[in-house]
């Protein structure tokens, strides 16, 4: 990852400045207000009170408007209501400019002043539109933060203090405000009766803040030459080494895990964890400190305002994706190099427009430019498939059969032939499109999982099987806590599709994503704690997760989720102290797991036998699977085989597997199963019980007209109400069931040494006593 920078010349500015030079002696004013109005246009205001627009098409600056001479701008922000469209923005876009004397103005797209409000008694240091577009905040050096409506009406005074506020930013969900005073950072929730969180952040002044929209972390740059990363509760996640000068600006990328840091004559591109990708140093000409940083809406380019008045545009290039034998590297803004190490070929792909994002996987390269999507197959590089009309692609997810694109309008699922497969919709989906990130989406083999942004505890699951009846009607899964990360499994058979997610308590849950039965009962099992990232393997149903100082591999997370013993047997936990801190999962291709820690790639092999075992089981080769387990002789292998065999009703194989895994109770139960009639209702029901599906077992027995066995099952499970209901329902057919239930109930009560308390049983007991008395 590299950072390519260019200092833009201000051609038309000098023409106007020549006129001003006769009246003023200084011509280089600091440039502290820059922002993108679209992906091709930058608006900037410097201390000479003029609003300029720089266009990427003409590479030139044009004067847009002129502010009053007593209006010294301090901050500037665009409200883009058109979903960050790159077509130039809609007419309802508004521009907010704050000044040094406590005023702010709101201008529309044609640079006409709509409102001019005197907001603060001192200079306004920050003015920001809220991410949901409902209002704006202004923070002043008089220690006050106010929230205004979009039309400029004062809604509330959030913070009232004596110390001057240097910087203030919205939370991504518009429910909190983070601001800095002196060396302290505070987070003020907007909900009533919520306490403020305040901590000392830097040894000097805190000069800049940024709150990430897709990872909910906060970056701060201070006068002590360091930038730090915090979570939303104020815990320090990263502290950088000391630079030569104070850190004057930080900005998170809105789409990817990048952080841009600006200081004196230096611009640094970092990861969200804090380690550095690249450093751009400006020696000649010297540009001074970077006062303001602004990413474009698509997250591919940034603009910088400097203290010497120069405008800098920076592009992130040299992004690299690796998948199997393919490696894709973006060499410049409009070209990608695709290298195949198997055949030794290298192709340079040139595009007519700027490359916004690209995805690589399963032998395909999907490249999104500003208006098109190009699909390359590794076998047919020369003939890409082009899809027109996809503006502002933000997220590309590559699956085994389909790939998914999230752009400014909607979510699209395509096949690799370029055909639109599905346009998923759920209640409120169109309103949430601008707020979705790559953490909210996950594309599996036949499932697309989307986290609801308005209610983060809801997970929408779309079925991608062609012709499925529920394709346009998603199933909603509800968790107890807010979901932080989602992962749908990328491989497996159509019956074994699972989705895993981490909630806000950092606990890992697994659930089935597809259910072929008519009645669906969601079972969510917890299989891990203290996780930060998860990823499924590309070809098998193996899940890997990263904890704080170790990582775990679940070899059978979906099939064995209902049995804690199986989960314990099939989970391997390994230490990561030697890897370093802040480990993330880069890729999980077949049996090679690649971590990334501080920029270094660390490939790790998972158990080869488990991977091969999964492939054999996927194809139904049971004898081959047995051979692999006997060869490997590892308990996790046997446990995996046992779980899958039980699920597939392979009683002989599961008995052998459980014996090898030393599960004696399960072996004896399986022997009981084998004693029953093969393929009968009783055996099927007992097998469901083995898998923990009690309701399913009861249903099987009732459908098979085995009323006596069903009542027996309920009695064994001590489900007294259900037993009585079934026996009374079928009283005409088998009248002896009710006395049996009553007899068992009496034995139960005698063992407990209690009287009858159940209101359902009391009338029957009273009736029985009356009969005895009459006799």
């Amino acid at each position: 990852m590299k950072l390519k920078t260019r200092i833009c010349k201000k051609n038309s500015i000098r023409n106007s400045e020549k006129v001003e030079e006769s009246s003023k002696s200084t011509t280089n004013c600091p440039l502290s207000c820059v922002d993108w109005s679209s992906n091709e246009e930058i608006y900037f205001v410097s201390d000479d009170h003029q609003i300029f627009k720089w266009s990427d098409v003409s590479r030139d600056s044009v004067e847009v408007a002129k502010l009053p001479d007593d209006f010294v701008p301090t901050d500037m922000h665009w409200l883009l209501l058109g979903g960050r469209s790159s077509g130039g923005g809609k007419g309802s876009d508004t521009l907010l400019i704050c000044s040094n004397d406590g005023r702010f103005v709101i201008l529309n797209k044609s640079a006409r002043v709509e409102r001019s409000i005197s907001a603060h008694a001192a200079a306004i240091s920050s003015g920001r539109w809220s991410p949901d577009g409902a209002g704006l905040l202004t923070a002043g050096e008089d220690g006050v933060i106010k929230i205004w409506s979009r039309s400029g009406m004062l809604r509330s005074t959030v913070v009232q203090n004596e110390e001057s506020i240097r910087c203030a930013r919205w939370a991504p969900n518009s429910n909190s405000i983070v601001f800095c005073q002196g060396g302290h950072i505070s987070i003020k929730p907007l909900a009533a009766n919520s306490k403020i969180i305040r901590w000392r952040a830097h040894d000097g002044l805190v000069l800049s803040l940024s709150w990430s929209t897709q990872s909910n972390i906060i970056a701060s740059g201070g006068e002590d030459f360091r930038f730090k990363i915090w979570d939303a509760q104020g815990a320090n996640l990263f502290t950088s080494a000391a630079e030569e000068y104070a850190i004057t600006s930080v900005a998170f990328n809105p789409e990817k895990d990048y952080l841009l840091v600006g200081t004196f004559n230096l611009l640094k591109l970092c990861h969200s964890n804090g380690w550095s990708y690249n450093t751009a140093r400006f020696s000649s000409p010297r540009v001074g400190s970077i006062f303001n940083l602004s990413w474009s809406a698509d997250g591919t380019q940034a603009t910088c305002g400097t203290s010497t008045g120069q405008l800098i545009v920076a592009y992130a290039i040299e992004q690299q994706l690796v998948s199997g034998n393919l490696k894709a590297t973006s060499k410049s803004r409009k070209s990608i190099t695709l290298k195949d190490i198997a055949t030794g070929t290298q192709d340079i792909l040139d595009f007519p427009q700027r490359v916004v994002s690209f995805g690589l996987g399963y032998g395909h390269l999907v490249v999104a430019t500003t208006n098109q999507v190009h699909i390359y197959n590794e076998k047919y590089i020369n003939t890409p498939i082009i899809i027109d009309g996809r503006n502002d692609t933000r997220v590309i997810e590559v699956g085994k059969k389909y790939f998914m694109i999230l752009d400014a309008l909607s979510i699209w699922v395509y096949t690799y032939t370029g055909r639109l497969h599905l346009n998923p919709r759920y209640p409120g989906s169109q309103a949430q499109i601008p707020l979705l990130t790559w953490r909210s989406l996950s594309l599996g083999l036949d499932v697309l999982a989307i986290r609801d942004n308005s209610d983060p505890t809801v997970l929408h699951l779309f079925d991608l099987i062609p012709g499925a009846s529920r394709q346009y009607d998603p199933h909603s899964l509800r968790a107890k806590q807010q979901l932080v990360q989602i992962a749908a499994c990328r491989a497996g058979s159509p019956e074994d599709q699972f989705v895993a997610f981490i909630d806000s308590n950092r606990e890992l849950f697994v659930s089935e994503s597809r259910n072929l039965n008519s009645e669906r009962i969601d079972e969510i099992y917890k299989i891990g704690t203290q996780l930060t990232a998860i990823m499924w393997a590309s070809e098998t149903n193996i899940l890997v997760g990263v904890h704080d100082s170790c990582y775990s591999i679940w070899y059978c997370p979906g099939e064995g989720a209902s049995d804690p013993t199986i989960i314990a047997l099939t989970t391997i936990t390994l230490d990561t102290t030697e890897f370093g801190k802040h480990i993330t999962i880069e890729s999980f291709e077949e049996s090679v797991l690649t971590f990334r820690s501080a920029g270094a790639l660390l490939p790790v092999n998972v158990n080869m036998y488990c991977e091969i075992l999964h492939r054999a089981l996927l194809e139904g080769q049971w004898q081959q699977a047995l051979k692999i387990c006997r060869m490997g002789q590892h308990s996790s292998l046997w446990a995996t085989l046992a779980a899958v065999a039980t699920r597939k009703h392979q009683l002989q194989i599961s008995e052998e597997a459980y014996s090898a895994a030393l599960q004696i109770d399960k072996v004896s139960y399986l022997q009981h199963l084998k004693a029953l009639t093969p393929s009968s209702a009783e055996q099927m029901a007992e097998n469901s019980l083995m898998l923990g599906r009690m309701l399913e077992a009861e249903t099987i027995l009732l459908h098979g007209k085995k009323i006596e066995q069903a009542v027996g099952l309920a009695l064994r499970m001590h489900n007294w109400r259900r037993a009585l209901e079934i026996s009374q329902k079928h009283k005409g057919e088998q009248p002896e069931l009710v006395p049996r239930v009553l007899q068992e109930r009496r034995k139960y009560l005698k063992a407990l040494q209690r009287e009858e308390w159940d209101p359902l049983y009391l009338p029957l007991v009273a009736k029985e006593e009356a009969d005895n008395t009459s006799e």
Partner: protein
């Protein structure tokens, strides 16, 4: 008045290469502190070093007086060296308002470099623009050359055609003229006329030469007669030098009496100045703020005494050479001017306290103007000497304004005081002239035989004028307060030396007829002063 000023100041310091880290926290508040002032003090020293390498501002940060001195010296430095007006009160605050004041200095220091960068870019653009016109100009020139060549070719072709057609007509004339025989008679006549013309020109040249020789002889004879007259005049002058004038012993007696009267007058002036200085001291204690201003002139008055002593040494050298009257006069005038400058500097301190004296200074200044105008048409010598004196006054005035001028208003005020100083010096000189005038009139009335002969009358008047000039120098010395011993010694020496010089002057300049007019005007001024 906000964090933006502090941040911009920090940026300017980074761009200029400030060696230490400038903490924004120190100035980013509305209330200053001693720690902030330490940083401001360091910044002021460093910025002063940038504007003028090697410059160091006096003052420090230990005590309030030193801090005040640092702020004031910094303010004066930036006003004089860089024409930047800084509010000292905001500097002393060492808070957010200080950043705005310091930015005035840093903005000046940062803008030239950036302007140079912009100029380079403009030059490159101009070069790029000039390339295109040059290319187009070259092509245009080629086009013009081609067009001119085409036109020229057409015209020449036409001319050749016309000439060839005319040749047929002129061919017969050409043949007839070529074969015509020459006439010998006409040729002979032409040659004779040419010879006669040349002879006439030769005769006129010879006549001019004869006339020039005659003029040369006449000029030679005139020169010999003038040379003989000069020799006779020189012999007559030498004879007059040997004669001692009559009544010389009587003149010497009157001079001794005059010296005693002058010593009494000098003592009175000394006592008056002492009393005046005591009165000023009492007034000075009531206003302690102005004491630094008064200390500076007092300190500055010391270096001028050695210069006066040096001039005395020059007079001793002149005493050996009695014939060098011009050098002697110049030495005396220079000494009196220097002493007047010293007098003006000390009087300047006094005038700053008592406003009433300004009115007297103005009146004296007006009288000075009248006397100056009277001097100029008097003698050629008097025209040269006032010019030298005025240049010295101007230098003194600037010196006075420099250390005191903290801002433009104070500089203007100092300049006005310098002008007043000049007035004082001239006024003192007028006062010095009045005494000898009156004494001369008295002596003239008592002795009627003093004006009987023409030569005796001239000598007497010349001796009176010399005495007045000497007394004016001694009266200037009396202006020094607190230096009575040195002043008295200097006065005595000057008086004796001047009398000797006057004797030699009277011998040499006996025949100058312009002296009586000067004496008459002196009498006129004495009446006005009294």
């Amino acid at each position: 008045m906000s964090f933006k000023d502090v941040r911009d100041l920090g940026e300017h310091l980074k761009l200029l290469g400030f060696p230490r880290v400038f903490p924004l926290q120190s100035l980013a508040n509305q209330h200053g502190s001693l720690a902030s002032f330490h940083i401001v003090a360091e910044l002021l020293q460093w910025l002063a070093g940038l504007i003028e390498p090697g410059a160091t501002l006096p003052g420090g940060v230990e005590s309030e007086e030193q801090r005040v001195l640092l702020v004031r010296s910094a303010t004066e430095f930036f006003v004089t060296k860089a024409a930047i007006r800084i509010n000292p009160r905001k500097l002393y605050a060492a808070a957010a308002v200080t950043a705005a004041e310091l930015q005035k200095v840093t903005r000046l220091l940062t803008s030239p470099g950036q302007n140079e960068a912009d100029n380079d870019e403009e030059d490159q653009r101009d070069q790029y623009r000039s390339l295109n016109p040059v290319d187009i100009g070259d092509k245009i020139e080629e086009l013009r050359k081609a067009r001119e060549l085409a036109t020229d070719l057409t015209q020449r072709g036409t001319t050749i055609c016309e000439m060839l057609s005319k040749e047929l007509l002129h061919k017969e004339s050409l043949m007839s003229q070529a074969q015509r025989p020459l006439e010998l008679l006409s040729v002979e006549r032409t040659l004779k006329s040419a010879i006669q013309a040349n002879q006439v020109r030769l005769q006129s040249s010879r006549a001019q030469l004869e006339a020039a020789k005659v003029e040369l002889n006449a000029l030679g004879s005139k020169l010999q007669r003038r040379r003989a007259e000069l020799e006779r005049t020189r012999q007559r002058l030498e004879a007059l030098h040997r004669i001692r004038p009559a009544h010389m012993a009587e003149f010497e007696d009157c001079e001794k009496e005059l010296q005693e009267l002058f010593q009494r007058y000098f003592l009175r002036l000394h006592v008056r100045d002492a009393l005046k200085s005591q009165l000023d001291l009492r007034t000075k204690r009531a206003t302690p703020i102005s004491s630094p201003i008064l200390q500076k002139p007092a300190e500055n008055s010391m270096p001028f005494i050695p210069e006066g002593l040096i001039e005395d040494d020059d007079d001793d050298d002149d005493e050996d050479d009695l014939d060098d009257e011009d050098e002697g006069d110049d030495g005396g005038k220079a000494l009196s001017r220097l002493e007047m400058v010293v007098n003006g500097r000390s009087v300047f301190g006094l005038d700053s306290e008592i406003p009433d004296i300004r009115d007297e200074d103005k009146l004296m200044q007006q009288n000075n103007m009248v006397s100056a105008q009277g001097k100029r048409p008097g003698t050629a010598t008097s025209r040269i000497r006032p010019t030298t004196g005025r240049s010295r006054k101007a230098v003194g005035g600037r010196g006075t304004a420099g250390p005191d001028g903290g801002n433009d208003a104070r500089a203007a005020r100092g300049t006005r005081r310098g002008v007043a100083t000049g007035g004082d010096a001239d006024g003192t000189q007028l006062n010095g002239r009045n005494g000898p005038g009156s004494s001369m009139l008295n002596s003239r009335d008592e002795d009627s035989s003093f004006g009987s002969s023409e030569s005796e009358l001239d000598v007497g008047k010349i001796m009176g004028m010399s005495g007045m000039s000497g007394m004016s120098g001694m009266s200037a010395i009396s202006g020094i307060s607190g230096m009575s011993n040195i002043a008295l010694g200097a006065g005595d020496d000057d008086f004796d030396l001047n009398s000797i010089d006057d004797i030699s002057i009277s011998k040499l300049t006996g025949e100058l007829p312009l002296r009586p007019k000067t004496a008459n005007k002196a009498e006129h001024h004495s009446d006005e002063d009294f």
